[in-house]
C-alpha cells in the first residue's frame, strides 16, 4: 500500500517513472528511484529471505544498508542489499535461502579496472555531519569527494518530518527534510563531487596520502585519493532480545521512517513501538501523520526518555505510553500478527498477570543506536567504550581528528547525539581537514572555536550531561 496524502510530504512529486520488476517470476509495479525491498513492501511482500541454519523467514530491519536482513538474489547475484539497491525495469528478484554462492560465470571487479578520483578531502557519509563537513571544507577551497551508499543524500534527515530543536542559526524550527535539501543544495553549489550508491569498504594510507576504496552499485570498484578523510557514517539501530524478534514486520524505527517518509509506503496498519526515547516518540507522531494507527509505546524505564514536548504531542493524539513495560514476544505466521507486552518490576522482571496481547502487524524497535565505527576501526584509529555515546566509539580530539593523522570523524559515528550536534561536528571536521591539507587560512580556527562553543552550549542542559560524561572517556587531551 502506498501513501497518497500526507500533511507534510508530497509524494506525487517524488515518484519516478513506473517500471516492472519480477518477484519470483511475478510482475510487480514499482517506481524508478525506489529500492527493491521498499517496492516489494508496497506490494505486500514482507519475507525477503530465509536464515542460513533454521530457514526462519526474515524481512527488512534497518532499511539503510547496515544490517543485512534484506539480502536477496537480484538478477542471479546473491547477497544484494535490496533496501538500498534501486529497482530497474525488468529486474528479477528472488528470496535468498541461506548462504548462496555467486554464479560460476560471474567475474568480480579487478583492481586494474578501478575508476580513480582525486581530491583533497574525502568524506564518507552524506548525512548532516558529512554534508556540513563537505560544505565547510569546500568553502575553504579544498576539493571534496563525498560518497554515500544510499541512493539519496541527507542521511536520516530525509525522513524527519518534524522540526528541529536548537538555535535558529542551527536550523531550529526547520523540518529535517528541508534541512537535507538546504545542505544538499549548498554542497552542490560549492562543487563537492558527490558519489551516491557508493559503499566505502576500506581506508588505506601511504605517508600523508589517503586512499578510500569503494564499491559502486554492488559491482564497480572505485578509488578515492586525497590527503584527509572524514568518516561520517552515522549509526545503526540496536536490537533487543525477545521471542520471535526476527519475524518480518519487526523493524528498526528508522526503517519505518524510510518506508513511510522517504518512499511513501504504508508500513502497516497497527503499530507497537518499543522504546520511548526521541526516536520512538517522534516515530509515533510521524505514523499518525501518515494515517497509521499506533496502538501503544512501551518503555522499560520508569520515565520517558524523549524530550517531554515530543511525548506531549503524541499523548494529546490519544497514543498511550506505558512506562515500566516491555515486549515479551511477537507472534504470527511468517509475519507479525500479535505482540505480547507486560509490566516489569524494579528488577526488570515481568510481573505475572500483567501480560496483554496487542493486535499489531508492525513492531517498531527504537531501543537505541550504536555508532558505525567499522571503517575507523579498520583504518587503525583507537577505539574505546563509552556507553553514554552508544557503545564502542573512536577516540578524537577537539578538532574531531582521530589517533590516525588526517583521519577525522563527525556526527553519530563519533557518538550518538543529535543532528544539530552532528552538523556542528561536521563544521569542525570540515574546517580542520581543510587546514590540514593547507587550503584554509589560520583565521579558520575561529570558526572551529565558534562551533566548539555552540556544542558546549547545546550540551549544557540535562540532556547533555551523559554526552559530556561519555566524551571524557573519548577525548584525546593534547
Amino acid at each position: 500500500m502506498r501513501l497518497e496524502e500526507h500533511p507534510i510530504i508530497d509524494f506525487s512529486k517524488r515518484r519516478g517513472r513506473k517500471v516492472t520488476i519480477y518477484f519470483e517470476g511475478k510482475p510487480i509495479e514499482a517506481y524508478e528511484g525506489e529500492p527493491i525491498a521498499e517496492a516489494l513492501h508496497a506490494a505486500g511482500i514482507r519475507i525477503l529471505n530465509y536464515s542460513n541454519e533454521t530457514q526462519r523467514p526474515r524481512g527488512l530491519f534497518c532499511a539503510i544498508g547496515k544490517c543485512s536482513s534484506c539480502l536477496m538474489v537480484v538478477n542471479g547475484i546473491p547477497n544484494t542489499r535490496t533496501c538500498i539497491t534501486l529497482v530497474e525495469d525488468g529486474m528479477k528478484i528472488e528470496r535468498q535461502k541461506g548462504a548462496q554462492n555467486l554464479p560460476r560465470d560471474y567475474k568480480p571487479p579487478e583492481w586494474k579496472e578501478a575508476e580513480k578520483h582525486y581530491g583533497d578531502v574525502i568524506i564518507i557519509g552524506g548525512g548532516p555531519a558529512g554534508l556540513m563537513a563537505a560544505i565547510k571544507a569546500a568553502e575553504k577551497g579544498a576539493k571534496v569527494l563525498l560518497m554515500d551508499e544510499n541512493p539519496i543524500l541527507g542521511g536520516q534527515l530525509v525522513k524527519q518530518t518534524h522540526k528541529f530543536f536548537g538555535k535558529r542559526e542551527q536550523f531550529a524550527g526547520v523540518r529535517g527534510i528541508k534541512i537535507a535539501e538546504i545542505l544538499e543544495e549548498e554542497a552542490r553549489s560549492k562543487e563537492v563531487e558527490i558519489h551516491l550508491e557508493t559503499s566505502a569498504v576500506g581506508i588505506f594510507q601511504n605517508k600523508n596520502d589517503k586512499l578510500v576504496v569503494a564499491i559502486r552499485k554492488n559491482k564497480k570498484l572505485v578509488e578515492f585519493h586525497g590527503k584527509a578523510v572524514i568518516v561520517a557514517t552515522g549509526a545503526m539501530e540496536k536490537m533487543i532480545p525477545f521471542e520471535n524478534n526476527d519475524l518480518p514486520g519487526i523493524y528498526g524505527a528508522g526503517a519505518i521512517q524510510t518506508l513511510m517518509n522517504t518512499y511513501g509506503i504504508e508500513p502497516g496498519k497497527r503499530v507497537l513501538i518499543v522504546g520511548a526515547g526521541n526516536v520512538g516518540v517522534i516515530l509515533a507522531y510521524q505514523l499518525k501523520q501518515a494515517g497509521v494507527d499506533v496502538v501503544a509505546i512501551v518503555e522499560a524505564l520508569p520515565r520517558i526518555g524523549s524530550y517531554f514536548v515530543q511525548a506531549a504531542k503524541v499523548r494529546r493524539l490519544g497514543i498511550p505510553i506505558y512506562t515500566r513495560h516491555t515486549i515479551l514476544r511477537a507472534e504470527g505466521d511468517g509475519k507479525v500478527e500479535r505482540a505480547i507486552i507486560a509490566q516489569i518490576d524494579e528488577n526488570w522482571q515481568p510481573i505475572e498477570g500483567t501480560e496483554r496481547t496487542l493486535d499489531v502487524d508492525v513492531i517498531a524497535l527504537s531501543v537505541g543506536l550504536r555508532p558505525s565505527i567499522e571503517l575507523l576501526h579498520q583504518a587503525g584509529a583507537q577505539i574505546t567504550y563509552a556507553k553514554e555515546l552508544g557503545g564502542y566509539v573512536v577516540r578524537h580530539d577537539d578538532r574531531m581528528e582521530t589517533t590516525v593523522r588526517g583521519l577525522f570523524v563527525a556526527g553519530d559515528s563519533s557518538g550518538i547525539e543529535e543532528a544539530t550536534t552532528a552538523m556542528l561536528e561536521g563544521k569542525i571536521a570540515g574546517v580542520a581537514a581543510a587546514l590540514l591539507v593547507g587550503k584554509a587560512s589560520p583565521e579558520a580556527y575561529n570558526e572551529i572555536k565558534k562551533a566548539q562553543q555552540d556544542l558546549d552550549e547545546f550540551r549544557s542542559g540535562p540532556f547533555g550531561k551523559h554526552i559530556i560524561e561519555g566524551l571524557k572517556k573519548v577525548m584525546i587531551n593534547e
Binding site: P7, P302, R316, G318
Partner: protein
C-alpha cells in the same frame, strides 16, 4: 518538583502551575490573546525567544525553559507557528467563550467555521468547538498550520488538540 509528567508523557494543569505562573484572569480577558508555553523541561531550544517581535520571552541560556512576560505579549502567534515541540498555545477569553490557538500538523486541516472535536492532553474527547481562524502551513513562519478554536471557557485549560471530522 516531582516531574511526574515524565512518567506519563503529559502534564497536568496543576503541574504546569508549579512550573510557570499562568496569566491572570484580567490578562486572559485582555485585548490580545496571550501565549502560554507547556515546555517544563530544560532542553536546548530557542526559536520562540528568537522570533518574538516584542521580546516577551525570557530565556537566558538555550537550555532554560521559556518564561513569557504576559503583559508584553501581543498575541501574534509566531511562537505557536515556530515552536519545534508544538508546545506553545494562545488563550483568549471572550465572554463565556475562550479561544485557544494551537498548532495542527495532521490531515485534514480544518476550515474556518468548521465544527471540530476537542481533545485534551491525553487525547480524550471533551467537547466540540468552532474553528474561527486558520493560518495555513504556507503562510506560517514555522511551516506548521495554526488554528484558533472557540470553545466553552471552562475547557480552555484542557483542550490542546482537535479531531477534524470528515463527512
Amino acid at each position: 518538583m516531582s516531574e511526574k509528567y515524565l512518567e506519563r508523557g503529559y502534564i497536568t494543569l496543576e503541574e504546569l502551575k508549579e512550573t510557570i505562573e499562568l496569566p491572570t484572569e484580567e490578562r486572559l480577558e485582555g485585548k490580545h490573546p496571550v501565549a502560554v508555553p507547556e515546555c517544563p523541561q530544560r532542553i536546548p531550544c530557542t526559536p520562540c525567544k528568537e522570533i518574538c517581535p516584542v521580546n516577551a520571552i525570557k530565556m537566558d541560556n538555550p537550555n532554560d525553559i521559556p518564561i513569557v512576560d504576559y503583559d508584553k505579549c501581543i498575541g501574534c502567534t509566531l511562537c505557536v507557528q515556530i515552536c519545534p515541540g508544538l508546545a506553545f498555545f494562545m488563550i483568549h477569553y471572550k465572554g463565556d467563550k475562550a479561544r485557544v490557538t494551537m498548532p495542527h500538523e495532521l490531515l485534514p486541516v480544518p476550515k474556518r467555521g468548521d465544527e471540530v472535536i476537542l481533545l485534551n492532553r491525553v487525547g480524550e474527547e471533551v467537547g466540540k468547538g468552532k474553528v474561527v481562524l486558520v493560518i495555513p502551513r504556507e503562510k506560517s513562519v514555522g511551516d506548521t498550520a495554526v488554528i484558533t478554536v472557540e470553545m466553552p471557557k471552562e475547557l480552555a485549560w484542557d483542550v490542546r488538540a482537535v479531531k477534524v471530522v470528515v463527512e
